[in-house]
């Protein structure tokens, strides 16, 4: 059940009404949201419900034991078992076939023919997100950053339908306290929620769908058919497509959760306005960035180790971050490139600091360089293989054809980049103007916005890109 579909609208309307009808009875409210979330997940594939429930029960069992364990050794062992168990589930479903096939093909190169058994299971939707949340819960309990929560609260935290399939990656400490407060039915941030939903729908249905189908997919499918300029615009367009697709999804998710009285964390902050790769990662998929920072980079030693070890930690973190996105070497390359960019950025910062030189203030150049490095890495992220990525790269430098890109593609790319620099105060003021309208006028404005989005979008919206991760 995709967000931009009539099915989801028909699913959400009764959820909204019943949720607010029962919200004063906390137990019933939470149980209702939990059942709604499990129904939402079952809509994708009901056979996966035991997996979601199993991850919840396993994580809770470990968390409760971890909380009462006396010795540090026992606590460590339990943490290892808990994190290992969750990662094993993720690894089994997401990486087993990839690992076996890679090993088999590697051995074949050495003359050792093997036909290993493959699992051949469909990747359970959202598994990367709910297992990462379960890991963060266990680590937070181990660090005594949070107390174990009730089983029902944990189940709802892991399965809450707005963030279940593609994030944001929420921490227990952010959302469980909200489950314990009775939301105020007189003070709903509805204007903010509606703006998020309408904006998210526009980004996904109109921008991402158009760029994907008309600009990006054809070029990546047959690069030889396109000129360097067309290929360049397709690469830029992919940067915008994946941003519009993923941030569109999270905007809708956050807006839908707000309408239920729950605030999810911010996930994007104008990422293409970044002036360094480090800055980019503080703005792009922010909840994954902080997960990688808090549960991988810092445990590895972070930057409180030798310079060489810090660079190693950056590389390991980003390589694994790349692999998290998908079981393919192109994702590893994408992560590795970002790790390398971050390491070089850090080295430059260190060098400037040592020489007591002011860092370059040429922010336009810094922005240009950052955007193009991000785009370069996106080629590997989007390509179906290294050969495909190389084909695209070759087209970028093949200037024999002068065929130009379509005006529509350029206009959308430029507009979406320009929006990254619009002061946020303007959006808040617009939201205020909307909020001051009466409910009937608000409803009419929303209807017109939905109609416009539906008309401009394609017939049949493709799934969100991040659903596959």
């Amino acid at each position: 059940m995709l967000f931009p579909t009539p099915q989801f609208a028909l699913f959400f309307i009764p959820i909204f009404l019943v949720s607010w009808a029962v919200h004063r009875h906390r137990g019933i409210w939470l149980l209702f949201l939990l059942v709604a979330s499990y129904v939402f997940y079952a809509w994708w594939d009901y056979t996966l419900l035991p997996l979601l429930a199993g991850v919840t029960l396993f994580s809770q069992t470990i968390a409760l034991r971890l909380h009462v364990a006396g010795s540090e050794r026992a606590r460590r062992l339990l943490l290892f078992a808990g994190v290992g168990g969750n990662l094993a589930v993720l690894g089994l479903f997401k990486y087993y076939d990839f690992a076996v096939v890679s090993a088999s093909n590697g051995l074949r190169q050495l003359g050792l023919g093997l036909d290993p058994p493959l699992l051949r299971v469909v990747l359970p939707i959202g598994i990367s997100f709910f297992t990462f949340q379960a890991v963060s819960y266990l680590v937070d309990v181990y660090r005594r950053g949070t107390e174990p929560v009730a089983l029902g609260e944990l189940a709802l935290y892991l399965s809450f339908f707005p963030h279940l399939v593609a994030g944001p990656i929420v921490r227990a400490g952010e959302i469980v306290p909200q489950f314990r407060e009775i939301p105020d039915a007189r003070r709903l941030p509805a204007a903010e929620a509606f703006f998020l939903i309408v904006g998210g729908l526009f980004k996904k249905v109109v921008v991402a769908s158009y760029l994907g189908a008309e600009v990006v997919d054809p070029v990546f499918a047959v690069p030889a058919n396109y000129s360097a300029w067309q290929t360049l615009v397709a690469v830029y367009a992919y940067a915008i497509q994946i941003y519009a697709d993923f941030s569109g999804y999270t905007d809708i998710a956050i807006g839908v959760a707000l309408l239920l009285g729950i605030r999810l964390p911010q996930n994007f902050d104008s990422p293409y306005a970044a002036r360094s790769i480090g800055d980019f990662w503080r703005r792009w998929h922010m909840t994954l960035s902080r997960w990688l920072r808090d549960y991988l980079y810092i445990p590895l030693g972070g930057s409180r180790v030798s310079t060489a070890a810090t660079y190693r930690n950056l590389l390991i973190t980003m390589l694994l971050g790349g692999l998290w996105h998908g079981a393919a070497w192109t994702f590893v390359a994408w992560g590795g490139m970002h790790g390398l960019f971050l390491a070089v950025g850090r080295w430059r910062r260190e060098r400037h600091r040592a020489a007591r030189e002011p860092r370059s203030t040429r922010s336009v150049l810094a922005w240009l360089a950052t955007f193009h490095l991000v785009c370069l890495a996106w080629i590997f992220f989007r390509a179906e293989s290294f050969d495909n990525a190389l084909e695209v790269l070759v087209r970028l430098v093949d200037l024999r054809s002068a065929a130009g890109p379509s005006f529509g593609a350029v206009a959308i790319v430029v507009s979406m980049l320009a929006v990254q620099f619009v002061p946020r105060r303007l959006f808040v003021e617009l939201e205020g103007a909307f909020a001051r309208l009466g409910p009937v006028a608000q409803g009419a404005a929303l209807a017109v916005a939905f109609l416009l989005i539906d008309t401009l979008g394609p017939e049949g919206v493709p799934p969100f890109i991040y659903f596959q991760f």
Partner: protein, 348 residues
Amino acid sequence: MDGQDRVDPSLQPRYRTSVQQVTLAGLVAFTLFSLMNAPTLLRLVLRQPVGWWRSVELPLVHRLERVSHALWLDRPRLAADRALGRGFGTAATFDRLAAANAQPRDADGTKLPPASADDPLDLWIIGDSQARRLGEALMRRALASGVMKATVDSRLATGLSRSDYFDWPSTIQTFVESNRPDAVVTIFGANDPQTLQLDTGVFAAGDSGWLEEYSRRTDIVMSYFERQGIRVYWIGQPISSRVVLTRRMREENAIYAERASMHPNTVYIPLWELFLDADGRYASYLRDGEGALVQMRTDDGVHLTRAGAERAADVIFPRIVADLPQGKDEGASHESRVMRGRFSRNGP
């Protein structure tokens, strides 16, 4: 700018609304949107598989559409759809295609015209979502050949069963009349096993009435291309991981093969065997030409991956190349003769 971008506390939302007001706004939005979008809602319901759910929805949406029309609320959407060229056909569009007059043309479709770099063979690849990757793989080969050019028209969730969902007969006729392709590659069938609602009755996929009608429609398309003198490569569906779908695809493939044998311009190319493992069963991973284990089918068990499409194209493209004129007396270009030699010796 992303909606949750509120680091500055002064920018925190100060606008709060009661649930009652939100419910009213939502109700107005939902009602007004449904009325203004009634033509699209009707189209969505009509496109659903025939069944009880569709039967429940249809009268409701028809009523909504009538109210919308009476209040003139459907006009903006209808105007926008007209401007964007959106619409939908009916089962009768197959009859229109059957009656479409033949255009005078030199070729009879039993062989391909000469192809050269200056006058490349014009290949049109059409079908459901399977046609996308397969078409792209063929397009890459066509481009590399230097004597062919290809256009891919892949329409998600379409087929020959439901021309009310997507009107393939009209699309085919319009494209052929304006572009005159030299050859067509078609792949249909993955979405076709669904109930047909005809004047003569309602037929579930696999029923004798369904098979008869599907066979008739397949024949109409092949006959149209034959009358137009266009060479057709009709691709069979590969085995699927889904048991029922696989059974239906076998039936469809049998129809394609049988009908193709009655049209001298049509070559049926099966893909079934190509995606079986050593035990003759469906396999998502298969060894490629170099012996590497590669994922050939997507996780849905139906579609081809890029590698799978390459595997299929390895069979289809040489068949097209083999049909290019061979001797000088037949008008073969130097490039096509060279290419034919290369493919016949080494494969693509």
